[in-house]
């Protein structure tokens, strides 16, 4: 072979030295083939130790190194740097773990020495097959696409936007702000939501490095990390956003009335409208589905009514291709549909609302101007809040949505402030108030006797009917006894589920959806905002139920992950320890394509073989072991290297 291997055995103070016979080990190692010398040193990871190795690599013209010391997890990277600084490829090194897996676990000195011998022999056999690996780099696009203009997406965009980086914030609705924009006050301190959110929305809308695309949806994503191409369709607004000031003259003129989805259908809007007072951008939009002009009628009432000439019926939908390096998906949530649990009477019994509907009843921009009123226009005397609707219930969702208990307490605080005479009752099965502030929120409510608490066995025991002009609720209490209560208004706290369009987005972005429609993260604990599709990140309730604080944290975390690698003007570094296909051996059977969780191998129809995208490959080697033709090589863990190591362990 002609290799010159230097073997260094670390004494690691007394750690290794006292556990085995190092003289015997040195003599053994020196006798191995291709070995130039073997020696011990007190602590190789010290500056002195590294300097010694560095000096001897040059002085002895070493071509390979074996270092017997602590676990490679400790100092493999340290020693690779030494090789690199001496002009030797850093991968021409093999670490032998004679501390954690030898000295520290084998109490018998001669047994430990014997084990260290064959571990060193295996490394010597392996290292001669090591190949030089280089970090490679590729051109990348620093711009980022953020899908979903709620609090998570906005938070992400604001961290990402900077000189030489444009952020495209794509929102399917006519305005940004997501669900949070529909709340008046938020738990646990009853902060004013719009005081918090509006400046952020303004910043996003006027940021020189953020382009907000409302009424837009991503239809297709091609490419991979560093170089995605996203095809985005923007629906025509038919209103000139630069001229419209949201004066309202157009919607006063419009003869069409439809349910206003931004108030959860609790009031009406026109076919040309601004979603709600304070919506940003505060610009009108035409709803083509209901506008008479688009139904073939000759109505131009809004155009006539507009004093600024903003309305253009002939505006067309636009298709754009955005070139971006990474994507943040923050598509938010939808609530469990309570009509699925017919016993709850939602949609049948009057004055039974979901939590989002109640948020709008509480809001000064909502259908009642912030007054809590029943359908008959009277304020309720008794409000029942029912927890865990469609969650923690095996029939629907197993998960706990984590925020309902806290917002139910908020509802009690706010309802009591608006209707001091009304009584509020919470029908709950368990209380979930995590974090540093929510429990105090509960104590305050309890102390002020603002809410009554009824402990039920589970939401699956609830039944809601209309009886004698009031709402009649029956349930099983925590002791298993039947209980009942009458109320004038009921608020259901439905489970938070992934957004209804999450399925389409998962398909478009090639990521997985788990239970309840939430997107699946790369690793639940260690990589919670990245996905198995490298370069596609998830943030906010798209990933799972969470409060505003956590959604913001995730949006910013995703931005941080992107900023740390997609640096404007710099190239993207590729990991060297990935797998590669030998095109001459590949039969094109596609086994690897089905196995890879990262979708790194693709089939090249022209070459009739698989090709691995090195940017996506994580180097696990699953495809290598599965390839029937042996056409895939796992760099630094090749068959040849591993088989040589096995031989060295056993001969």
């Amino acid at each position: 072979m002609g290799e010159k291997i230097g073997i260094y055995i670390c004494e690691c103070g007394p750690n290794i030295k006292d556990a085995m016979n190092l003289d015997e080990l040195v003599t053994f190692a020196q006798g191995l083939e291709n070995v130039a010398f073997a020696k011990t040193f007190k602590t190789l990871c010290s500056e002195e130790g590294k300097a010694l190795i560095g000096k001897e690599i040059k002085g002895n013209h070493l071509t390979r190194l074996v270092i017997a010391a602590c676990s490679p997890k400790e100092h493999e990277v340290t020693f690779r740097k030494v090789l690199k600084s001496e002009g030797l490829n850093p991968f021409f090194l093999q670490i032998v773990n004679i501390r954690e897996q030898c000295a520290w676990v084998i109490k018998d000195r001669s047994q430990a020495t014997e084990k260290a011998k064959f571990l060193i022999r295996a490394a010597v056999h392996r290292v001669i097959h090591h190949e030089p690996l280089e970090e490679r780099q590729m051109e990348c696009q620093p711009d980022v696409l953020v899908i979903g203009g709620g609090i998570a997406g906005i938070s992400s965009a604001l961290v990402l936007a900077q000189k030489n980086r444009t952020v495209y914030l794509v929102e399917k609705l006519p305005c940004v702000g997501g669900k949070v924009a529909r709340y008046e006050e938020v738990f646990p301190n009853l902060e004013c939501a719009s005081c918090m959110l509006d400046p952020k929305m303004d910043e996003v809308l006027h940021h020189e490095h953020i382009e907000v695309l409302t009424l837009s949806e991503v239809q297709e994503v091609l490419g991979s990390y560093g170089n995605f191409i996203a095809k985005v369709k923007t629906k025509a607004r038919h209103v000139d956003t630069r001229q419209c000031i949201g004066c309202g003259a157009c919607f006063e003129a419009c003869p069409v009335k439809v349910k206003n989805e931004y108030n959860e259908g609790l009031n009406e809007r026109k076919a040309i409208y601004v979603p709600y007072a304070g919506a940003l951008p505060y610009v009108a939009v035409i709803d083509e589905e209901h506008c008479l002009h688009f139904q073939g009628k000759d109505c131009v009432a809004c155009q006539k009514g507009c004093p600024f000439g903003c309305i253009h019926f002939d505006e067309k939908d636009q298709d754009r291709e955005l070139r971006v390096g990474a994507i943040v998906l923050s598509s938010g949530f939808d609530l469990f549909d309570p009509t699925r649990a017919s016993e709850l009477g939602y949609g049948q019994v009057e004055n039974v609302y979901t939590s989002l509907e109640f948020e709008r009843l509480l809001s000064s921009t909502g259908p009642t101007g912030g007054k809590i009123l029943m359908k008959n226009g009277q304020p309720p005397k008794k409000i029942a809040i029912i927890h865990c609707v469609g969650s923690r219930d095996k029939r629907y969702n197993e998960h706990c949505s984590g925020v309902c208990c806290a917002y139910s307490l908020k509802f009690a605080h706010l309802a009591k402030a608006k209707l001091p005479e009304a009584s509020i009752v919470q029908i709950y099965s368990d209380f979930c108030l995590p974090g540093k502030a929510s429990q105090g929120f509960f104590y305050q409510l309890d102390q002020d006797k603002k809410s009554e608490f009824l402990h039920m066995r589970g939401a699956d025991t609830i039944k809601i009917d209309q009886k004698d002009g009031r709402i009649h609720i029956t349930y099983t209490d925590v002791n298993g006894k039947p209980a009942q209560i009458a109320a004038d208004m009921v608020i259901l706290s439905p489970a938070i589920e992934g957004a209804r369009d999450a399925e389409t987005l998962a398909r478009v972005l090639h990521i997985s959806q788990g239970k309840a429609g939430f997107f699946v993260e790369e690793h639940a604990k260690l990589a919670p905002v990245s996905t198995m599709n490298e370069g596609v990140f998830i943030a906010g309730c798209a990933q799972g139920p969470k409060d505003i604080q956590s959604a913001v944290a995730e949006g910013q975390a995703a931005a941080g992950r992107i900023i740390s690698r997609l640096i404007p003007g710099e190239r993207l570094t590729l990991e060297p320890m990935v797998s590669v296909v030998d095109e001459t051996c590949c039969s094109g059977c596609k086994t690897c394509i089905g196995l890879c969780p990262y979708k790194a191998p693709i089939y090249d129809a022209e070459k009739k073989c698989a090709v691995i995208n090195e940017l996506l490959c994580k180097g696990c080697g699953v495809c290598v072991a599965a390839c029937p033709s042996g056409a895939i090589k796992a760099r630094h863990f090749t068959d040849q290297q591993i088989l040589a190591e096995i031989k060295g362990l056993l001969i």
């Binding site: 997890k73 969780p597 096995i646």
Partner: protein
């Protein structure tokens, strides 16, 4: 008569099991000297030919350790290891190789005690089976 000390080769995944073996070391837990470890990035990297070659080279037993199901660093590499293990076990049986010479188990990074337990059990079991002579197979 000299007592038989089996040679056991362990293929350990980098993220859980190799860390688990290191944890046993950090906790200074006594572990049989019989285990000789090959580190792989994922238990899913373990090609059946590695196992067969290991027996051919003179090992008396092979131990495959990976992350617990659901905990794989690469999401599902350990499931691939499990599938291959099932096939491999049947194959070895066909060659007349005793079942206990190959074992797959899950050891997490913190399971120092489990690591020592699995290795000790394996060593004991293979001791009872006696030396493996591949020339007979």
């Amino acid at each position: 008569m000299e007592t038989f000390e089996p040679k056991i080769v362990g293929f350990l995944c980098n993220w859980c099991s190799y860390e688990g073996a290191d944890s046993a070391g950090k906790a200074q837990k006594a572990c049989p000297a019989n285990l000789r470890v090959v580190r792989v990035m994922c238990s899913g990297r373990i090609d059946p030919q590695f196992v067969i070659q290991t027996f051919m080279e003179g090992a008396d037993g092979v131990l495959i350790l990976g992350c617990h199901p659901g905990d794989c660093h690469y999401k599902e590499g350990n499931y691939n290891a499990l599938k291959r293990y099932t096939v491999l076990k049947n194959m070895l049986k066909g060659f007349g190789i005793e079942e206990g010479r190959l074992r797959l188990d899950w050891v997490s990074a913190t399971e120092a005690d489990k690591f020592v337990q699995v290795v000790s059990d394996m060593v004991e079991h293979v001791k009872q089976l006696g030396p493996f002579n591949h020339h007979n197979h």
